[in-house]
Amino acid sequence: MHKDTSYEAVMNRRGEIMKKAVGIDYESFELGGVAFDYEQMMRKTGYSLEEVQKIQRSTGVGNTPLLELKNLTALARKFAPEGKGARIFIKDEASNPSGSYKARRASTSVYHAKKNGYKGVVAATSGNYGAAVASQASMHGLETIVIQECYDSRGIGQPEIIEKARKCEAYGAEVVQLTVGPELFYTFLTTLEDTGYFNASLYTPFGIAGVETLGYEISMDFRELEGKDPDAVICTNAGGGNLTGTARGLLKAGAENTRIIGASVDLSGLHMASDKEFNRKSFTTGHTGFGMPYATWPDRTDVPRSAARPLRYMDEYYLVSQGEVFFMTEALAQIEGLERGPAGNTSLAVAFSLAQNMDKDQTIVVQETEYTGAGKHLQPQLSFARENGVEILRGNPEEEVPGKNIILPSDPKQIKARPVDLDKMKTSYIKNTVKKNNIKEFTQDEINFLQEDSKLEKVRLEAILRELNVKY
């Protein structure tokens, strides 16, 4: 008998489909109400750091070079007050097999799929993750299907996403390309049901455990090089997994005093599910359109409980404009001799700004780079923006309006990372939890969970709950 494949029927089967496709019994970590045991989930279903290191060594993932950006540091110091201008380092994650840190995230998922007898893996992603999954699957002899949100209703696709499709196909993956819309999830579910393949979700404990080695390596590299941990590590933040995994790895290394800083491209004002606005943005990841909603409501992903929970780890969060990131991408090529993809340089733009307020003897690490090429490069991305009516100019990046213009700074001193009010984000997270679950009262277990999950002070959490008229 054929299964009902209507939108509603498939969405109603999502729990059952997911359970088969991920093989995790998420129920067993629930603590009642909104609470669940995050650490238990990571321990029971993820892999230990040692296991992940072994898996990654066997597929050529990780142990990427840590490079000191001496010229960019010198440039930042030109604009810094006396005694200021921290040394900037970068972890060259582009040297992973698929050209980005996502190889780490894919390595554990694909390994797990192979070990558990799945014939193939499916990933819903328009980003570097697709290529990472396809590359790892090739090494393990598994099939890959990548499902991308790629085109608007005119059939016009972001050059960056089209390049990523090519890269997936280069590794032998099947690429399903869709127009804009969250119903990508519907296609994802029918594909999982059709094939019986493994859901190589970005948000399982496998994926996040895979990123922990990145944070761990940064600490180890630094101790070898400088005899101490870095003062700050900056992670480009979208769905939260990059920051979560890196922070957990740093903590596992014992780097407890390293500040964990999130960085996103500011795309405020553009609706992520809008057909017309889809091609008016020039970044397809690392932006606020993912960064904000995923941090303030992590359990919106393709698994019941997301292992990516950035509010638990983030000490500070900064935004930069598209123009600032493109400018830094050009700077990295021109004065450091490293031509890398733009999206990965979001945290570099933030580092360049923050270094100017930190002492000269301090250190700041940009924890990733990504590959570049046709489509995925500032030249085609800006060309595409111009063709879609976005104005490209030199000027003051503060005046950039996402979707209307992209302003390449006329002077590097204009690059200023803008802080996000983390308390406001944490308050949103609590509000979302209350609203989505229609909560009138929290138990002590739930309060403890919320405090850990938001990293809020207890008094502040209680104040927020009083404002929301929630008993505790």
Binding site: E143, T179, V180, G181, D275, P412
Partner: protein, 103 residues
């Protein structure tokens, strides 16, 4: 029109959800258009461009759609030259060479 032979590598197009079948929580502009899909595979029967066909994808799935293209080609590139980028490198090198460094 030229017939494309069975077994050729082709690209197809299909509507996954009509606009009326889409999720209720969408912005107006997205709600008004269908959810569309493109995929590639080996053509399962001789056909002409625009015909409704079946393909076998790389993972050996059978997918139906409208035949768009034989031997689909990548056309993405480095785009049109953006002159605004050109001076950035020289400007930065000039600043680095310049005096009053606080290093």
């Amino acid at each position: 029109m030229e017939t494309i032979k069975k077994g050729s590598w082709v690209r197809v197009y299909a509507v996954v959800l009509k606009s009326t079948e889409r999720s209720p929580n969408l912005p107006e502009d997205t709600k008004n258009v269908p959810l569309e899909m493109w995929n590639k595979g080996f053509l399962q029967e001789d056909a002409k461009i625009g015909d409704q066909v079946t393909i076998k994808t790389l993972t050996e799935r059978i997918v139906e759609g409208k035949l768009l293209e034989e031997n689909p080609t990548y056309t993405h590139s480095f785009g049109k030259f953006i002159p605004e980028i050109l001076p950035i490198g020289r400007e930065l090198k000039e600043i680095l060479r310049g005096g009053d460094e606080n290093a």
